[in-house]
């Protein structure tokens, strides 16, 4: 019974962690819609003298951020049988 409770506590902790990562991903993802609102007009303007604008940077940044989040998630979510194993 005690073992079961411990397992459930560990699972709840993991689920919270998963939902945190998912919520961050969804929030970042939803931020892309801002490009299409009045509030996000500034993202359409070129940065300085360059042709690159905030929307293009946002697109690239989101893909790289999602990859970084996945890497971080895998690093933190270690194998319980072998905690030193990174993936």
């Amino acid at each position: 019974m005690e073992e079961e409770t411990q397992k459930l506590t560990a699972i709840h902790k993991k689920v919270r962690q998963r939902f945190r990562y998912s919520a961050i991903t969804l929030l970042l993802y939803a931020s892309f819609v801002i490009c299409y609102t009045d509030a996000g007009r500034a993202l359409s303007r070129p940065l300085g003298n360059s042709q690159i604008n905030g929307a293009l940077l946002l697109f690239t940044g989101l893909i790289l951020l999602f990859l970084a989040l996945e890497y971080l998630f895998l690093k933190r979510d270690k194998n319980p049988a072998n905690p030193r194993r990174p993936l």
């Binding site: 459930l8 998912s22 892309f32 299409y36 042709q51 690159i52 697109f59 194993r85």
Partner: protein, 521 residues
């Protein structure tokens, strides 16, 4: 007729048929047929998932959209990419620990086996058939353009090759076809992107400035708002693409081809890595088409791009790499279709032979050899159905068919899968009502939307304003499952709720030994 393309394509076909022959010697059980014996490594599986997912629509369609409308084409790239992190965070581990061959295995662990399997089979087969029609019609038209082959010859070639891969080599052959295709595609887009950047002096500023200078719409193409202005419309696409990925049966099935749960998670990460890399290069390729094609009249006839917008990336490959690179990319586009159709065929075959025959008709105790034979036979039948549908729909506007699988997967498969894994209150009745309502409402919303009501049926205005209704239909399915489940007082509902905790522990810790052994019949 492009001789280079045909020669390279024949080489690809010879290599993949050789692999199918090799795989057929190793596919002696239904387990090997469905999940390649569970012996694919995480990196290989990541490449195969990428090969399964990076379709001709992604490569040619998105570059074509950027060619025509600039930045707005990137919405589809982001939408198609963002599902992968969530697959890793929410689903990979639990699906791998609970299932054997299909996502239906996972949801039938705690819900009433027969009824929930039947619903999941309907969801799977609907997605597979819709996806197949879009792929086959796209394949016929694309190959007609690229190779100069008649439409019917193209459709027959795709069907016969896919039947050969899947019926004989099962998931093992399909996996290697997908890995080879992913490697070729990633190599091809890397070469094109490099050559485009070389032309731009390795300066993004020069690339974007050149694109803005050449495009008839000028600098507006570098920013959002040319193709889409309504933020709700953008949200509908993003929701359908993201949650659609999480409900695609042929993608979820790939999580069972690796030996352990850790390899499954690695698969999801490496798939993201390959797909993310691909979509980042599409930015260069997409704006490269604008930069290098608009100023070159040899790619235009009567003021329009030869072959239409979908040919922009192929023309770009010729502009930067001559006939050799164009031939290579044409062959890769053909291979791309084969790999995607093969993945769909395995998934459809598993839905019938494993989920229906073994799971429902034989109540989980099938004759393994009969099941394997049925799997092979189903693959042949699906290949023939794909052939028939490809010919039947050849003159139809199938753009809407490309939207339907993602919407149906997001509105039917994903809500049932997610709630059965994460909410203890889910009951069989709730899951069935939610899935059925999700399916009906999403199909109706697409039919009365712009893609069918206006473009196909010829009405002046759509009854529903959005192409991708998942923003509305997916929450409806979630609410229905919740509402029906909390009001369900049947004895089965009590059992479904009680099943949750045992399933929860197994989904996180695996079987008692720790890592899940590959399931065998």
């Amino acid at each position: 007729m492009n001789i280079t393309a045909i020669t390279l394509f024949l080489l690809f076909v010879a290599a993949t048929l050789g692999i199918s022959y090799w795989a057929s010697k190793r596919t002696r059980s239904s387990g090997a047929f469905y999940n390649a014996g569970g012996q694919i490594t995480g990196v290989q599986n990541g490449a195969a998932i990428a090969g399964d997912f990076m379709s001709a629509a992604s490569f040619l369609g998105i570059s074509g959209l950027i060619f025509g409308f600039g930045f707005d084409g990137l919405i589809f790239s982001l939408g198609a990419f963002a599902g992968w992190p969530l697959l890793l965070f929410l689903l990979a581990k639990r699906i791998r620990n609970l299932g054997s061959y299909t996502f239906t295995d996972v949801i039938s662990q705690r819900l009433e086996r027969t009824r929930i399997r039947l619903v999941a089979i309907v969801g799977t087969v609907t997605v597979v058939i819709l996806y197949l029609i879009a792929q086959m019609v796209g394949a016929g038209k694309l190959i007609e353009l690229l190779f100069g082959l008649p439409y019917e010859v193209a459709v027959v070639t795709v069907s016969l090759l896919v039947i050969a891969y899947v019926a004989f080599g099962g998931m093992l052959a399909t996996t290697w076809v997908q890995i080879i295709k992913a490697s070729l595609l990633l190599f091809g887009v890397t070469v094109i992107a490099f050559l485009v950047m070389q032309r731009a002096g390795f300066s993004f500023d020069t690339l974007f400035a050149g694109a803005a200078a050449n495009h008839p719409r000028g600098a507006t193409i570098l920013a959002p708002g040319v193709l889409f202005q309504d933020p709700i419309q953008v949200a509908t696409i993003l929701v359908a693409m993201l949650f659609g990925v999480l409900g695609l049966p042929h993608i979820l099935m790939r999580l069972f081809t690796v030996p352990t749960m850790y390899e499954a998670k690695k698969s999801a990460f490496f798939a993201s890595l390959f797909i993310g890399y691909f979509f980042l290069l599409l930015v260069i390729i997409g704006f490269g088409t604008v930069y290098l094609l608009y100023g070159n009249p040899s790619f235009f006839a009567d003021g329009k791009l030869i072959g239409g917008g979908n040919m922009a990336a192929i023309h770009l490959s010729q502009a930067v790499g001559g006939d050799l690179l164009m031939g290579f990319m044409s062959a890769v586009a053909f291979a791309t279709i084969l790999a995607v159709v093969a993945g769909l065929t395995v998934s459809g075959a598993a839905a019938i032979s494993h989920d229906l025959y073994a799971g429902v008709i034989c109540q989980g105790k099938p004759d393994p050899q009969k099941e394997l034979k049925l799997g092979r036979l189903t693959a042949v039948v699906i290949g023939l159905i794909a052939l028939a549908l490809g010919i039947l729909f050849q003159d139809q506007n199938v753009a809407f068919l490309a939207t339907m699988p993602m919407v149906v997967a997001a509105s039917v498969n994903f809500p049932v899968l997610f709630l059965s894994l994460y909410w203890s209150g889910t009951t069989t009745r709730g899951a069935i009502y939610g899935a059925v309502l999700g399916l009906i409402v999403s199909v109706v919303a697409i039919v009365v939307g712009p893609q069918v009501w206006v473009a196909v049926l010829g009405f002046e205005a759509p009854l529903f304003p959005y192409d991708y209704p998942a923003l509305f239909t997916m929450p409806l399915a979630f609410i229905t499952i919740w509402l029906v489940s909390i009001t369900d007082n049947s004895p089965r509902a009590a059992l479904d709720r009680n099943n949750y905790y045992a399933l929860l522990i197994r989904s996180e810790f695996g079987p008692e030994e720790g890592e899940l052994e590959v399931a065998k019949h």
